[in-house]
Symmetry: C2
Subunit: 406 residues, 2 copies
């Protein structure tokens, strides 16, 4: 797997994230989040437009004055009025966006591509004259005419923007479309390419990764993916994806062990729970349950883990208190309890545990007391002789009865 | 966009889903879920192996006797002991799986490819002799040797399996790899191709869709994606993705308006909340907040929606009680309240709302009382004259002050 060298997420928790239904960030909370993002190691932090409201402007100025390592950007419409306010806030760069799809040209701003190009040139020249970064992005790029898109990107690239942006504003794109568009755009412009993917159809993470494969450099993300509707590419999931491609790079650049705190900070601020199935930090992302999984994980975690939980300051868990458990998982628990049972005894006690697991949901105490009772019985009766273990090394959803195959 | 004709999800909520950390399904709950899946319109329901536990076997028999329209499958290891038990349960087909990656061959079952092929042939011939369906799948396919894989798939295809399965057991695959592997496999076998994707790095939905583009026919899904670790491709998200490709087909085949009930049924059974960012049924999946979005949505919902909420029995919501709101959203609320304000008046009251929205989180009552107070004031003072609306048709993150551009 190869992706563009040194790609990175740009954090838009305080812009796109503010468009999340539940988001209301006080100045103090914005500053706390900005500092946490900076500490995590991100390169860019994007803020709500300073023309959105008076407080939005003041917050933008306040965050610019924090002296963070990350560059501070703000996100504005493609007009001079917005640009004039934006450059006065002290930001390191301005992200300009305008709708280019027929839908948005007709029902949002009502302008044609010539008007868009002229506005873009005026705004870009102005922002550049202030000596700060400028990105030009189309909106709803995947429902825009490809010739229109390439024309406007080539125009702004020639003026000298730092980045051009592609945005899947409605979440309609699929990975193969993303790959084609980014590849084509890369052949047209010399500046960096930024991508922004909404998650309406669940493809925002894969689209982001595929864009990196096609040569995009910067991916817009937010903590937990918060944004309009059901949001955009989440920071954590993109980290999960990127670390499978270049572990050393990701480990050297980001404080991954702070991901969970960062997610909790934002989740609390917008009053949501971490989704149960969240990559990396979902409560069971490193929990292994079926007997075959548990057995192999105990032998070598790479068998059923593409991510190493310790990279994120997390630990794996073998879920043995259930009817799908297997004797290898139970044997491991017996060892943890400092008890001494043979493999055959472990299989026998496993059968007892599965029997109770068929009747009701088990907890660890249930299993531990079955094991301890069984162990106590063994002490009062002659120990079973250990038997040769050969046919037992296949363990799937584990057996209630002894296997006879092979 | 084109995908294989008439592709479909196979529902493994009662197999993979039972491997979810929180899952403990009683017989009654399994039957309730199986009936709900059948009613939704799924073709296949996969159940936990009958050798996992005694109750698993009895549940399998009970569900086979329900007379559902969906075919009932069970999922077993590739050995005769399991196969003998499986065919006696009354299932319509058996899904056989064996680990083919070096990791699993070394740390799980310890067998070589010759052994795997021999076991597969024996089990497949036996299941076929019973006149029921048979699928053969490798496990951890994306970390398996491609030559080994193609060899075993060609072998089992020649014997006459109904389907071969590819499984991204550890969630490492990305869409372009999926496309290549499915395309290659399609050139080697004549049977249908089934795919199973774990979601550790957030690509399970996109991988599933890309597999369909490459010609896969059946995708393993579970309700809410529940499964080992953080699970697999969720049914709802795959519906979202598929409906963007072929709306008529999806609408004709599935009772999409029952998706929310189905998800709630399973969420309650395994004691999780619907993730806030769940495609389709997340609480804000059809909520529009920023002024520019609200304005365009009011003019034409397709501007910012690739899914139609009414297809799922849901409704969209314009979130106007916040500082990012715009005067078009407020005007729409004024109309809902049956009040009469000019555009300029709407802009003026919007500025008041944004001012309060800067101070604290707003609710609908806050906004309604600001609007009503403002409206009452207007009745006691001479009405403002409506002004020509020209420069106002660009509305992004909406302005606190009047725009002068253009």
């Amino acid at each position: 797997m190869s992706v563009a060298s040194n790609p990175y997420p740009g954090l838009t928790t305080l812009r796109e994230g503010e468009q999340f239904a539940n988001a209301f960030f006080t100045t103090e909370k914005k500053i706390e989040i900005a500092k946490a993002l900076d500490d995590f190691g991100v390169d860019y932090i994007e803020l709500t437009s300073p023309v959105a409201s008076e407080q939005s402007r003041r917050d933008c100025e306040a965050i610019c004055k924090l002296g963070l390592k990350a560059k501070i950007l703000t996100h504005i419409r493609c007009h001079m009025d917005d640009a004039r306010v934006a450059v006065e806030t002290g930001v390191d760069g301005v992200d300009v966006v305008i709708g280019t799809s027929q839908f948005l040209r007709k029902f949002s701003h009502g302008k044609d591509m010539n008007y868009i190009a002229q506005s873009a040139i005026e705004v870009i020249e102005f922002v550049k004259s202030k000596g700060i970064e400028i990105r030009f992005s189309s909106e709803d790029s995947f429902r825009s005419d490809i010739v229109d898109l390439l024309n406007i990107y080539r125009t702004v690239d020639k003026i000298g923007v730092n980045r051009v942006g592609i945005a899947d504003t409605v979440g309609c794109a699929n990975p193969r479309q993303v790959y084609e568009l980014v590849k084509t755009l890369k052949s047209v412009v010399s500046c960096d390419i930024e991508c922004h993917f909404h998650n309406d159809t669940g493809c925002a993470i894969a689209n982001a990764y595929t864009a990196l494969e096609a040569g995009a450099k910067l991916i817009d993300v937010s903590v937990l993916g918060i944004g309009e509707r059901n949001g955009i590419t989440p920071l954590g999931a993109l980290m999960a994806r990127m670390i499978t491609a270049d572990r050393d790079y990701v480990l050297s650049k980001y404080k991954l062990h702070k991901l969970r705190d960062l997610e909790n900070l934002v989740a609390d601020a917008v009053q949501v729970n971490i989704p149960f199935n969240n990559p990396i930090t979902g409560f069971c992302a490193f929990t292994h349950k079926a007997g075959i999984h548990a057995k192999a994980i105990l032998a070598n975690p790479s068998t059923y883990e593409i991510l190493n939980p310790s990279d994120f300051g997390l630990t794996r868990y073998i879920h043995f208190a259930n009817r799908l458990t297997g004797w290898n998982a139970i044997k491991s628990r017996v060892d943890q309890l400092n008890l001494n049972l043979t493999d055959d005894q472990c299989k026998e006690v496993t059968a007892k545990i599965k029997l109770l697991g068929d009747v009701r949901q088990l907890n660890i105490d249930d299993v531990d007391s079955i094991i301890k009772d069984y162990h106590a019985e063994q002490q009062t009766t002659p120990a079973l002789k250990p038997v040769a273990n050969g046919a037992e090394d296949v363990e799937d959803e584990p057996e209630a009865k002894k296997q006879k195959t092979n």
